[in-house]
């Protein structure tokens, strides 16, 4: 063994510096890999795995990541030269639709054979071929079985179960104003049960829940840590936690929704061949299988891949074929922001009041119930308002456009006043101060 440590001593003491200097002057390598610049908001667990696998498959290219959240991606891709970006790869359908309208993309230079354009009622690929889904995420309920057992709570299977007052104080719900994935979550029961019943369900669910924001705590933390028993969430956070050993289960309701992530090649791509290679790789069997890694756990868009995934891996295509996923994401995409804002005004802002009113209502007699229930459950906005393109534009542009912000803020005030008046009347009927 000492041969390792003795004979080469003199050489080895000098080794690092000498070898490094020698390496600098002797180029034995192939031509430098050409950059493929990818704009994304994926976390490192996703990026690093695709980076390693792509560069192994395509050693002539080197991935260069420009990290931007979707609201910051727009200005990057709108600037001259599109910031040198070749590929935009992110989960923000609204941003893709916007950029397509602005001619920011070129037609996808790859075959989409074997990649369905929709999951149930949700279109996931651009019908004009400018962008395609690279993965989808579903929504549902994270459940801690030990917590439910400890609190003698029945299991949940669908949205309506969550409205049962037996779950009061046991639910965690992401605040849709704060948490990026949550607006779609809010819209799912509004579509599945209809506008009025959907909002009524949400009122009762919100009264049972505590809201989580964007402070860094995930629903999976709350449920896995046993602080709450049931958490509403996009699936991959929880599925990843489950795959890594968290004592949690994930329940997909009978009617869920999907949120696709997309991939597109920029109109001004400096390296279109490299961009094509990366898009090809992401959509290939090899790329799609990476999505099943325990640290990622997103849903592949290539149905043929599911056969090789771990047992029990959720297959949205199979679920859709059985009648699930009727959710219309094109409709939801437009109204997500106003719906989230209205949700905030109706349930998050006056949450303590809402909890108190529902608690009193559950103890009230039938006549009082009939008078008060509509006051707590009426939608804070009309469905026609949520579907109004002018209102949708205002909420989408409010960060950047003062006029849009003024319109959005005014509408929020209107909805807040509407809700406050109903809650005040309910309080009066219930004898609450």
């Amino acid at each position: 063994m000492d041969s390792l440590h003795k004979p080469s001593r003199r050489a080895f003491v000098r080794a690092a510096g000498a070898l490094a200097a020698a390496g600098a002057s002797s180029r034995l390598w192939a031509a430098p890999a050409k950059d493929v610049v990818v704009l994304t908001a994926y976390p490192d667990a996703v990026v690093s795995r695709f980076e390693a696998a792509f560069e192994k498959a395509w050693p002539q290219y080197r991935l260069r990541i420009v990290w931007r959240m979707p609201h910051d991606a727009l200005p990057t891709l709108r600037q001259a030269g599109q910031g040198g970006v070749d590929v935009y790869w992110s989960a923000s359908p609204k941003t893709y639709a916007q950029l397509k309208d602005e001619h920011a993309f070129r037609k996808l230079p790859v075959s989409l054979e074997g990649l369905p354009g929709r999951v149930g009622g949700s279109v996931i690929n651009d019908p004009d071929g400018f962008y395609a889904a690279s993965e989808v995420a579903g929504y549902g309920f994270a459940v801690n079985p030990a917590y439910l057992h400890r609190h003698q709570l029945p299991p949940v299977a669908d949205w309506s179960d969550l409205a049962d007052p037996v779950y009061a104080g046991h639910l965690a719900v992401p605040d849709p104003v704060e948490v990026g994935f949550a607006p779609v979550l809010v819209d799912i029961p509004l579509q599945a049960y209809g506008w009025d019943i959907g909002w009524a369900l949400w009122s009762a669910i919100a009264a049972n829940a505590a809201f989580t924001g964007r402070g860094g705590t995930f629903v999976s933390d709350e449920i896995g840590g046993g602080r709450k028993g049931i958490g509403l969430s996009i699936d991959f956070f929880v599925a990843s936690a489950v795959a890594n050993g968290a004592p949690v289960e994930f329940i997909y309701p009978r009617q869920g929704g999907v949120n696709p992530a997309h991939i597109a090649v920029t109109a001004g791509s400096p390296n279109p061949e490299g961009a094509k290679a990366f898009v090809d790789f992401v959509l290939s069997d090899a790329g799609q299988k990476i999505l099943a890694h325990p640290d990622i756990r997103k849903l592949p868009v290539r149905p043929s891949v599911y056969a090789g995934l771990p047992a029990g891996y959720h297959d949205p295509f199979a679920t859709a074929a059985r009648g699930g996923y009727l959710y219309d994401n094109a409709r939801g995409r437009g109204r997500a922001a106003p719906v989230a804002a209205a949700f905030g005004q109706a349930f998050v802002r006056p949450h303590a009041r809402l909890v108190e009113l529902w608690a009193r209502l559950h103890a009230a007699d039938g006549a009082t119930w009939n008078s008060v229930w509509p006051l707590l459950t009426a939608p804070p906005l009309k469905e026609s308002e949520a579907d109004d393109p002018a209102i949708q534009r205002a909420f989408f542009a409010r960060r950047d456009d003062p006029a849009a912000e003024a319109l959005a803020a005014g509408l929020e005030q209107t909805w807040a006043s509407r809700v406050d008046a109903r809650y005040a009347k309910a309080a009066s009927l219930l004898g609450v101060a």
Binding site: L4, A16, G17, A21, A24, D44, V47, G83, G215, G216
Partner: protein, 447 residues
């Protein structure tokens, strides 16, 4: 062997006592979340702070200017986008397996002969003290490093042949001229659990450990390093050469060196005199990492619990534990340390911990030498790395790579690279019969 047997009996008792220390700092989790758990008993406000810190540790930083103005300021020169990039699941980084793979969770420190103003390594005049492969748009990265491996075979006493490898570096696509003669030190990311506890071990404890007389030629010194916060030389304890005095200094140094994020401790961007575009690039604030953000990340890392040992009471592990001590490993990989006062994080104070380190620097021989001095540490000296959690490396990192440059592909390889002050212990390990060697490794796997 008679002497070894005696030591085995004596040291086994001592080592065994250390392994079953207080559980306040431990968490019972042997899964892939094992390095991500907070200490028990955090208040709601502390939990919020812990998770805020986690978000920042996991955050991919963005190029300034950006609407996300709390997390902008990446670079201008940098290695990776996020802290977590080099410490996936809070575990160890991995080196490239060949010259065509990039350094995803590894970096290379640079210096030239001489010392910096405060006695540390003297940065390369063009490339600084760390090679940053990446640059933000408009700022050329420093180049590429290709790492290849040189393999050699070695036969153990029982006839088993072990292949060991050491890295060879080559710079390519250099962005700022020829690099010339330069000292290099490749480093993979380290696991980050238990750092708050190590931060709370007093400097006096380290001095006392260093002053102890030890057998087998083992010495151990305290590195004396610059603390940018106190503007003084202090005992080093973090980093592969114990070249950082505190968790906060370690963090702020990594934010600057790896991500190009400035802080109150390092307010100047990491650009050298010849890197004009770097010096003119927009920043993400002055500093880019606010004091509160640094507080939050520090709180997060300080309060990451250490996983409880597995199978600690099994016969084979107990035999291995005794062999670990009897072979002399525990002279440096100390089973027990005590934390001192911890004014900022009181729950870390007064704990008896089992990190299996003395936090001292030791001559590890020419095989591991990088030839790059770092404050008091010579090119042959390295800090004793903590071994707690090492048995979960495969689970957390999905591969086993050990030592500062990830050259060792198994714990056996890592031990066989020990030289210098650890030469006697390594020889004892190499001479052990197969079953005893396996028992010692089973003990390490239990940590």
């Amino acid at each position: 062997m008679r002497r070894l047997g005696f030591l085995l009996l004596m040291c086994g008792v001592l080592a065994g006592a250390g392994a079953r220390a207080s559980a306040d700092w431990q968490v019972a989790d042997a899964g892939r979340e094992a390095f991500a758990r907070p200490l028990d008993g955090l208040s709601d406000a502390e939990r919020e702070r812990f998770f805020r810190g986690r978000s920042l540790f996991n955050q991919s930083w963005v190029v300034a200017p950006a609407k996300d103005d709390q997390v902008d300021g990446l670079g201008p020169l940098y290695n990776r986008l996020a802290c977590i990039s080099c410490h996936a699941r809070n575990g160890r980084g991995l080196p490239p397996e060949g010259a065509d793979e990039r350094m995803q969770s590894m970096l290379v420190r640079l210096s030239v002969a001489g010392r910096s103003l405060h006695g540390g390594p003297r940065p390369h005049p063009a490339y600084g003290d760390q090679f940053n492969e990446e640059g933000i748009p408009g700022v050329r990265g420093e180049g590429r490093i290709r790492l290849s491996w040189i393999e050699s075979k070695h036969r153990l006493a029982d006839g088993e042949v072990v292949s060991l490898r050491r890295p060879r570096l080559a710079f390519t696509e250099l962005g700022y001229g020829a690099i010339g003669k330069v000292q290099t030190s490749p480093r993979v990311g380290q696991q980050v659990v238990g750092m708050g506890l190590l931060d709370a071990v007093s400097a006096q404890t380290l001095e006392t450990l260093a002053a102890e007389r030890k057998p087998d030629g083992v010495k151990g010194r305290v590195n004396r390093v610059w603390n940018p916060e106190s503007a003084a030389l202090e005992a080093g304890r973090f980093g592969y050469k114990a070249n950082m005095p505190t968790l906060r200094a370690q963090l702020a140094g990594a934010f600057l060196g790896d991500l190009g994020i400035t802080s109150d401790l390092h307010p100047i961007e990491n650009c050298t005199a010849v890197q004009a575009a770097c010096r003119q690039a927009p920043n993400g604030g002055t500093p880019e990492l606010s004091a509160r953000q640094l507080d939050d990340v520090e709180f997060y890392l300080a309060h990451l619990a250490v996983p409880v040992r597995r199978n600690a009471d099994s016969d084979v592990v107990r035999r291995g534990e005794a062999l670990f001590a009897a072979s002399g490993c525990a002279q440096c990989h100390r089973p027990n340390l005590s934390t001192g006062t911890s004014p900022r994080f009181p729950r870390l104070a007064g704990q008896t911990i089992a990190p299996y380190t003395d936090l001292l620097i030791h001559d590890m021989g020419p095989g591991l030498a990088d030839g790059r001095p770092d404050f008091a540490a010579s090119g042959r000296e390295w800090r004793t790395p903590p071994l707690w959690g090492i048995g979960l490396t495969q689970t957390i990192s999905e591969q086993q790579r050990y030592l500062h440059d990830g050259r060792a592909r198994s714990l056996s390889e890592a031990i066989l690279w020990h030289g210098g002050e650890a030469k006697v212990a390594r020889r004892r390990f190499a001479a052990l019969p197969t079953q005893q060697r396996r028992a010692l490794l089973a003990f390490l796997e239990s940590l």
